[in-house]
């Protein structure tokens, strides 16, 4: 059994109370949600915090999936399992179910949350790629009120986000438009492993033409990245294999993977291409059906 260094623990009673605690304790405190990244790091003593503020009691307040006509709003404490099992969410954005099926294992999915995944900001993390693909907006609350940032603004660097020491990510919003299809694919060495590379694609098709398209990749650079050049290339065109190939080539050339135990940089670049093509193909199929 690995044991962490000493820390104090407090259960949050409301979002405002948790923000108050964060303001008082500063960077020595950390919120714990699902805990599946934070606690292993503390047990390995790679992360040491004096205070843990447990926000799991706020699940009733921050755990929800609200499907609206023009937007989907998901509370930051919504668990992977809830995302996986929501038929409404799968109908609105099929990419969510694709991704959730390959995230970790049931034990992690039972506790891990959307907000925790995004705030961990691991470059290999799957939901960050999903949120990038869907052009999500993150709602961050502090004592002064709420602010809304894009995924590009949210991710400051590996393991670094725009959320301040005294703030909480409370909600993630996803704009809805007609003619949508999306998909997610992940290559992993073993079920439950972090991605070697994964890719998400979303398209919006009207009258046979791509009105908008986005691709989000994970594990091929310091941060999950949306690639504007792919969107520019796809927009206004009718879907075709040649177009997917172009997009794949852009993905391969735009990403910045490094060689590690999961694979060589060359292989990851190849996967960025291959998975971009596969997910675009599937996203278009879904948009059409």
């Amino acid at each position: 059994m690995q044991v962490p260094a000493p820390f104090e623990y407090e259960r949050a009673t409301s979002v405002d109370q948790a923000i108050g605690l964060l303001e008082r304790l500063g960077s020595s405190a950390r919120l714990v949600a699902g805990g599946h990244s934070l606690l292993p790091m503390m047990k390995l003593r790679l992360a040491n915090f004096e205070y843990l503020i447990d926000i799991n009691p706020l699940h009733a307040e921050l755990g929800y999936v609200k499907i609206q006509t023009d937007e989907v709003r998901i509370g930051a404490l919504t668990r992977h399992r809830e995302l996986l099992e929501s038929d409404e969410l799968a109908a609105a954005f099929p990419i969510f179910r694709d991704a959730e099926r390959v995230i970790a294992d049931p034990v992690v999915r039972n506790r891990g949350t959307l907000g925790g995944s995004l705030c961990q900001a691991d470059p290999s993390e799957d939901l960050s790629a999903v949120c990038t693909t869907l052009d999500a907006r993150c709602v961050i609350r502090g004592s002064a009120g709420e602010r809304v940032v894009s995924m590009e603004e949210f991710h400051v660097g590996p393991y670094e986000t725009a959320v301040g020491d005294d703030e909480i990510l409370v909600e993630v919003r996803f704009p809805r438009r007609g003619g949508h299809g999306s998909a997610y694919e992940k290559v992993e060495r073993r079920a439950g492993d972090w991605a070697v590379v994964s890719a998400g694609a979303a398209v919006w098709i009207t009258e046979g033409r791509i009105v908008d398209a986005r691709v989000g990749l994970a594990a091929v650079g310091p941060n999950t990245t949306g690639i504007p050049e792919i969107s520019d290339t796809l927009r206004g065109n009718a879907p075709s294999e040649a177009l997917y190939e172009q997009a794949g080539a852009i993905a391969a050339r735009s990403c910045d993977p490094s060689t590690d135990q999961r694979g060589s940089a060359d292989y990851k670049r190849h996967l960025a291409d291959e998975l971009t093509r596969r997910t675009l193909r599937k996203a278009v199929e879904r948009a059409r059906s």
Partner: protein, 797 residues
């Protein structure tokens, strides 16, 4: 990409036939495991017990300049801090390994691998002990490490073992077997010679339960009780007596429930010794339990053989000779657990299942700045490496000859009439009939249909591979004239006592780590003496309660201890027959044994049960002249030879041409382990071993960076397979009894771990044939398969 298989309903009714003897029955030990009532080392709680944590080296190779423990000693709850220097004063800083080398208990001069033990803290609880580790200030002078075994013997390579007098380089041993000149002569005249460099990378057994111990030394009566995660409690007790100077009768080693061993729990680790020292110095019980990272970085690894395989054959596919040159990475201390005369374990069986003219192996073992061990992972003493070598090189030959790999194997098998068969490296295979086993596997697989399907798929650009491995193992060490570990002969004792009411207790010298001994051994006794398994208590794992023996590893429990159990039961039955003859007033010769009772010949109505006899043996009435009361016996069994199980494995894989991911679609395993005691348990062991094989073939490897940092220090980095990576296993069997084993059984515990990696690798290489691939090394991760597809396969180290 993960796909989730539809669950299939399996009917388990057949698994509990309640046999009085051999047959399918549910495991007697399972109710306590399934209900969470197993009692593992970490469950042991003693009054006043303290907790021990070990400070480990952050560097692979560094000189210790100074160690300051003052802050740790002042930390709350800390009772004791011990360094290597303190152990050296007591003569305990070094201990012998199982291979007649020495290993540091706590480093005194240098650290020689990352994760090596440097100091320990004993405190009120585990948290206080762990917190205090951070307060120990060690100053290191970092030295250049030896990471690549190929460079260990280069001039100017850093000297790792400067503790050994007269050691000027990193050489451990040279070893050879077979006939070099005769082999060279065959190679020189052969039509076809194939050479391939084949690496079996370092892997780790990674048992679910890590290693640990609770030491309780009673200073009044001088007795040490040690609960520990050991596969060999008796051997450990003797070694503690020799090392620590505690009289052997004052040491009780208890191996409680063990959460998997796979060889990882054969050696004595420094942590066990630290726990003993901690208890002696504090006068309190002391518990040490490794965490997962400590287990992965510091305990017995497996494999790490860099092999060159060579095979000589005629143009029409008759294999003539096999030759290999091996570079073995033994880590910083030679801790290989193998019989003393076998420094390379049983690697000498690398000639496999084939009747050839000549064979030769030359091996060099070296020290590197990596964890010691080299023992383990269900390898039957290095047979895993041997079988991988021969089954890979035979496939390379098939590739060169453009011959079907099944046909090539069938053409070269040792024939049934040749048994007992002495190999060109001196191993005497006891029995075997290989072709029916191979044919059964091919029938189950639908081999011809698979090849047809493969041809169609290849025409469409799809990648499908069919891999075959045929193995012969040598298990059940071993005859004591040849085999000992540090002077202890590899024989095993067994005691059987029948209680007055006809229930029984059998005491074993071997220790289960999940193999199901409490069931299997009850069945062996039941088969011989007719008492139902439910009425037989199996006692094992406690040196004060069981006869001496060398423990469970190398698939030796059934071949050695299983024989002892059968023979001790027959001894009891012989005595029971004497008593029965008095009870029935007939001569011994007039009695027939009808499993559970003696019946008067020609008068089936006249009989006595074993239960009647047991009561009589303990009762008030007279016994025949010369027969003592009681019904019990004891034996020590020394096997006359090893047993040689064999098997034919066929693996079918599909590879995604776009992502290079390998999917194991089917796996057919036909095992021949001689007589089958409990087929359900055999299948369970085979399933586990096959899963292990998927891990080794596709994902597992303990890697190091150039500074000697271990890159496999957690189960996030060191991958072990899950149910999602494996297919529904298709198992079959043939039965070729061992002629020298009393019930004809052979070992099976490691067969699948030995046989499956080459089958899987052969399947992947077969799938990649359109790319001209003849060999690719494990682990075949998607990235490495992609490299192979582009003609850029590289060794993993």
């Amino acid at each position: 990409m993960t796909t989730v298989q539809e669950p299939k309903f399996t009917n388990f009714d057949d698994n509990d036939q309640k046999p009085v003897g051999f047959g399918r029955m549910l495991r007697k030990e399972d109710p306590r495991f399934l209900r969470g009532r197993g009692r593992y080392t970490d469950d042991v709680q003693l009054p006043g017990m303290l907790h021990l944590a070990i400070l480990r080296a952050p560097f692979a190779h560094a000189r210790i300049v100074s160690v300051d423990t003052s802050a740790a000693e002042a930390s709350p709850g800390v009772k004791l801090v011990v360094t290597g220097a303190m152990l050296a004063e007591k003569g305990l800083a070094w201990m012998p390994t199982l291979s007649n080398d020495v290993q540091a208990v706590l480093a005194t001069d240098k650290v020689r691998f990352q994760g090596q033990e440097v100091a320990f803290v004993v405190a009120d609880d585990r948290y206080a002990a762990r917190d205090a580790l951070e307060l120990i200030d060690v100053e290191y002078d970092v030295l250049e490490p030896v990471v690549d075994a190929r460079r260990a013997l280069e001039a100017g390579a850093p000297l790792i073992r400067d503790d050994l007098t007269d050691k000027a380089d990193n050489h451990v041993f040279d070893w050879e077997t077979g006939d070099e000149a005769a082999t060279e002569a065959v190679f020189a005249n052969a039509d076809v010679v194939v050479v391939e460099d084949i690496v079996y990378p370092r892997v780790h057994p990674a048992p679910m339960e890590t290693c640990g111990a609770v030491a309780d030394f009673d200073s009044i009566d001088g007795k040490l009780r040690l609960w520990s995660t050991t596969q060999a409690p008796h051997a450990h007790r003797t070694l503690y007596a020799i090392v620590a100077g505690i009289p052997e009768h004052k040491i009780q080693v208890i191996a409680p429930d063990i959460g998997g061993g796979f060889g990882n729990k054969v050696p004595i680790y420094p942590g066990y010794v630290c726990a003993i020292v901690g208890s002696i110095l504090t006068g309190k019980p002391v518990k040490w339990m490794e965490d997962r990272s400590e287990n992965l970085i510091s305990t017995g690894f497996a494999r790490d053989y860099i092999m060159r395989g060579e095979i000589a054959a005629t143009r029409d596919g008759k294999i003539l000779a096999i030759r290999t040159n091996v570079l073995a990475d033994h880590g910083a201390f030679n801790g290989t657990a193998a019989p003393v005369k076998y420094p390379a374990g049983f690697f000498g069986v690398f000639t496999g299942s084939y009747d050839i003219e000549a064979a030769y192996c030359k091996m060099t073992a070296v020290y590197t700045n990596k964890a010691p061990g080299g023992v383990a992972y269900a390898c039957s003493f290095r047979i895993t490496e041997a079988v991988y070598l021969v089954e890979r090189i035979v496939d390379c030959l098939a590739h060169e000859l453009d011959m079907d790999p099944a046909e090539l194997r069938l053409k070269n098998f040792i024939q049934p009439e040749q048994f007992p068969y002495e190999t060109k490296t001196g191993w005497v295979y006891d029995s075997g009939d290989y072709e029916p086993t191979m044919r059964l596997a091919m029938d189950m697989a639908g081999y011809a249909d698979l090849r047809r399907e493969q041809a169609e798929k290849r025409a469409r650009g799809e990648l499908m591979g069919i891999g075959i491995a045929f193995f012969t193992e040598a298990v059940g060490a071993g005859p004591r004239k040849d085999m000992d570990i540090l002077g202890l002969g590899m024989a095993d004792g067994c005691e059987l006592r029948i209680h007055p009411t006809g229930k029984a207790v059998v005491r074993l010298s071997v220790q289960t780590q999940g193999q199901g001994h409490e069931t299997t051994f009850a069945q062996i006794i039941a088969e011989e003496i007719g008492i139902p398994p439910a009425d037989i208590e199996v006692v094992h794992g406690d040196t004060d309660q069981t006869p001496f023996g060398l423990g469970t590893y190398g698939s030796r429990s059934t071949p050695v201890s299983g024989a002892a159990a059968a023979l001790v039961a027959r001894k009891v039955r012989d005595k029971a027959q004497l008593i029965a003859s008095a009870m029935l007033e007939v001569s011994v010769a007039d009695l027939d044994w009808a499993k559970g009772s003696f019946v008067v010949k020609g008068d089936p109505g006249k009989s006595v049960t074993i239960q009647d006899i047991a009561m009589r043996a303990h009762g008030a009435g007279d016994l025949p002249d010369g027969v003592e009361g009681g019904l019990e016996a004891q034996i020590c069994y020394n096997p006359s030879n090893l047993t040689y199980p064999h098997g034919a494995y066929i693996c079918v894989v599909d590879i995604d041409p776009g992502t290079a991911q390998v999917k194991v679609r089917r796996f057919i395993a036909v095992d021949d382990c001689g007589a089958r005691i409990n087929p359900m348990i055999i299948e369970g062991q085979v399933h586990g071993g096959l899963t292990d094989g998927v891990g080794m073939a596709l994902m597992e490897m303990i890697a190091f960076d150039e500074d000697g940092n271990c890159l496999g220090a957690s189960l996030m980095d060191y991958l072990i397979p899950t149910a999602l990576e494996v297919p529904d296993w298709e198992t079959g069997f043939t039965v070729t009894p061992s002629p020298h084993h009393p019930i004809g059984a052979k070992g099976v515990g490691e067969s699948a771990t030995v046989g499956s990696p080459p089958a899987i690798v052969n399947a992947v290489v077969d799938a990649l044939k359109p790319f001209g691939v003849r060999h690719a090394d494990m682990p075949l991760t998607p990235s490495r398969v992609w490299d192979a597809m582009r003609g850029q396969a590289t060794p993993p180290i």
